[in-house]
């Protein structure tokens, strides 16, 4: 009976804004090595769900367990330190800093003000930054300021900034928005590579992309769980078809 706890357990989670239930009594489990996609029409509560897990929004009821421990009431940075990384919908990188510095800032050491004050660039950091940059296809752009990167490259940089923290769960909000077909393919490849040894939670509109990467798909509608399963099964679910095509 007592098995390994789920990496992430969301149980009965809900939040309402002025009576409007953005996420309502949602339960979902995620295990190591899994790529899970969350889809749903606009306003289904996808981004709100990420906000709730990452601590940006406080839940009204329910709880979130991570590696068996409750994280529902932790602060954002504590949740990050527990091992949950999050990419925002619009690429959120430091435009004025170089690609190198962007990754360096995300390196998970010296995260207190005192530590950061005494921290100087160390060979380990340089090595790790180069390693990650290679993984996210930005090896040749290390000395460029982030503002001159293309949109897709900024998305990769932000993924790299999560990756350098070696999170156990990565949550990506629309990682391929605004990317070319070629960049999408490379991103799919990247996500598959980095899902080894961790779980990845992806919110995405692009069905083709979802189909190419996700093991399991969760469909949200009006804050509630509508369907869950393999993409092929979900696609033929009449409830899902109704929500997507019904109006």
């Amino acid at each position: 009976m007592i098995g390994e706890p789920h990496l992430l357990a969301v149980e009965g989670l809900g939040v309402s804004f002025d009576g409007f239930k953005a996420v309502d009594d949602l339960t979902l489990y995620l295990d190591n090595g899994e790529i899970r996609a969350i889809i749903g029409p606009n306003g289904a509560g996808k981004t709100t769900l990420l906000d709730l897990i990452s601590g940006k929004t406080r839940s009204s009821n329910g709880r979130v367990l991570f590696k068996g421990g409750e994280i529902t009431s932790l602060k954002e940075h504590e949740i990050v330190q527990a091992g949950i990384g999050r990419k925002f919908q619009t690429p959120s990188v430091y435009e004025e800093l170089t690609v190198f510095e962007n990754l360096e800032m995300a390196y998970p050491s010296k995260r207190t003000w005192w530590g950061a004050l005494w921290s100087r660039r160390s060979p380990q950091v340089v090595e790790r930054v180069q390693e990650i940059a290679e993984l996210v296809y930005l090896k040749d752009r290390l000395n460029d300021r982030a503002e001159i990167l293309g949109h897709g490259q900024k998305q990769w940089l932000e993924i790299g900034m999560l990756l350098i923290q070696s999170p156990d769960l990565m949550m990506l909000d629309e990682p391929v928005a605004g990317m070319s077909v070629h960049e999408r393919e490379k991103t799919a490849e990247l996500l598959k590579e980095l899902s080894k040894g961790r779980a990845v939670l992806v919110v995405e509109h692009d069905m083709q992309f979802v189909e190419s990467i996700a093991d399991t798909v969760t469909v949200l509608h009006q804050g509630k769980l509508l369907a869950e399963g393999k993409m092929a099964a979900v696609k033929n679910d009449p409830k899902v078809i109704d929500v997507y095509l019904g109006h």
């Binding site: 925002f88 959120s92 430091y94 921290s119």
Partner: protein, 410 residues
């Protein structure tokens, strides 16, 4: 064969250009610092009269809060419109010590209560208030100069930043605090000297601060402390914390979701700014010989922001020149057109914000030269880049080189 070599050379050239760029930046900072040090420590003392040097000395004390604002506002994005609070508290702590030393029973024997500061006697106080007593000690006073404003800043910033109050709201709150402190000081005349402030300061540990030689020594102490502050602030800005400040100014959420407690970083910067401002205030008291509420309130606080903006809010050295210029302007204009001064000051601020958002530092000629040099380097890099080279050379060249080679073989 040439195709495999080309990217290598491009990469090498790019790396070289980058290291050159970094060197330029470093040498520009060092050169700027050397020039400023020369100006403050050699040129001014040799070329200015005692009176003028005294004025420069006073202006330089305002450079402390300006430097504080460069770190806090320019780099960290936290605008404080209440830097006068910390400048004033530092100044008052120092003034309290000097006042007690000047109020020994002999020289105050005509008072109804000898041995207490004169303004207390005028306000019918018959003994020294309890909070004044520790200021009999110089070590305590030096500690208080830093600790009192530092603790206040810690309290304010913890209360604000932990609740995620920022931006304009934070600026307004700091301004309100400046206003409150001024009213408090003026209202509590018997404890603070009221609107006149604490005046008639004479000696520091028996050393008369009013003599010409003392003024010269204080000038050097002040200038050295200022240069030391610049070095210390540079050290902070070069650390990871310095780069985090830039990151935080731009994308606070991203910093938070990278696992940093943004509030604690902001608290550090704000407290640092307060302590630096307070050191300036304490030096002001020593250099000028008095402290009053007119250096605490809203107007002086805004003047400090203007000095930082005029000098360039991203430049530590700019803050020194901004303070010198704005305060010299203030002296000059307020003597010539006393009624117009505030309008001129406001006009200056608007002009700087509209026309030179990076202040004096943004105008600096060396940087302009560097920029043109960098543009040349950039052009060279472009010329080396195969992506841009290829279409340019391929188009006219592709047709001709191939057939002749074929011709030779045949």
């Amino acid at each position: 064969m040439s195709m495999t070599i080309e990217p290598q050379t491009t990469k090498a050239a790019r790396l070289l250009a980058f290291s050159r760029l970094r060197k330029l930046e470093l040498s520009r900072d060092q050169l700027g610092f050397a020039i400023t040090a020369l100006l403050l420590l050699v040129v001014f003392p040799l070329s200015l009269s005692g009176f003028r040097l005294g004025m420069v000395s006073k202006y330089l004390t305002y450079a402390f809060p300006a430097i504080a604002l460069v770190v806090c506002w320019g780099k960290g994005g936290i605008l404080s419109l209440g830097q006068g609070v910390f400048f004033g508290l530092g100044g008052y702590c120092m003034a309290m010590f000097l006042k007690l030393e000047a109020s020994d029973p002999q020289s105050t024997s005509i008072q109804s209560t000898p041995g207490i500061p004169d303004f207390m006697d005028w306000n019918q106080l018959t003994e020294l208030p309890l909070f004044w007593v520790p200021f009999n000690s110089l070590p305590f006073t030096l500690f208080a100069v830093v600790a009192v404003p530092g603790l206040l800043a810690l309290g304010i910033s913890l209360a604000m930043f932990k609740r995620r109050v920022g931006g304009v709201y934070f600026a307004i709150i700091t301004q309100a605090i400046a206003s409150v402190l001024t009213i408090l000081i003026i209202g509590q005349q018997g404890y603070t000297g009221g609107v006149n402030g604490i005046t008639d300061l004479k000696t520091l540990g028996g050393w008369d601060i009013r003599t010409d030689s003392a003024k010269l020594i204080l000038y050097y102490a002040n200038a050295s402390l200022l240069l030391g502050t610049v070095l210390f602030a540079t050290w902070i800005l070069r650390s990871k914390l310095g780069r985090l400040l830039a990151a935080m100014r731009e994308k606070e959420e991203r910093v938070r979701f990278t696992g940093y407690d943004v509030a604690s970083l902001k608290v550090f910067v704000f407290v640092f700014a307060a302590v630096v401002s307070a050191i300036g205030g304490a030096m002001f008291t020593l250099v000028v010989g008095f402290m009053s509420p007119s250096f605490v309130g809203i107007v002086p606080s805004i003047e400090m922001v203007i000095a930082a903006a005029v000098g360039g809010r991203h430049s530590l050295l700019g803050a020194i020149y901004g303070s010198l210029l704005v305060n010299y302007g203030k002296t000059f204009f307020s003597e010539s057109f006393p009624e117009l001064w505030l309008f001129l000051l406001g006009g200056l601020f608007i002009l700087v914000v509209m026309a030179f958002p990076n202040g004096l530092a943004g105008l600096d000629i060396k940087r302009y030269l560097d920029k043109t040099r960098l543009e040349k380097l950039g052009a060279k890099l472009k010329a080396l880049d195969p992506a841009t080279v290829a279409p340019a050379t391929m188009a006219p060249g592709a047709a001709s080189p191939v057939p002749p080679r074929g011709g030779v073989q045949q």
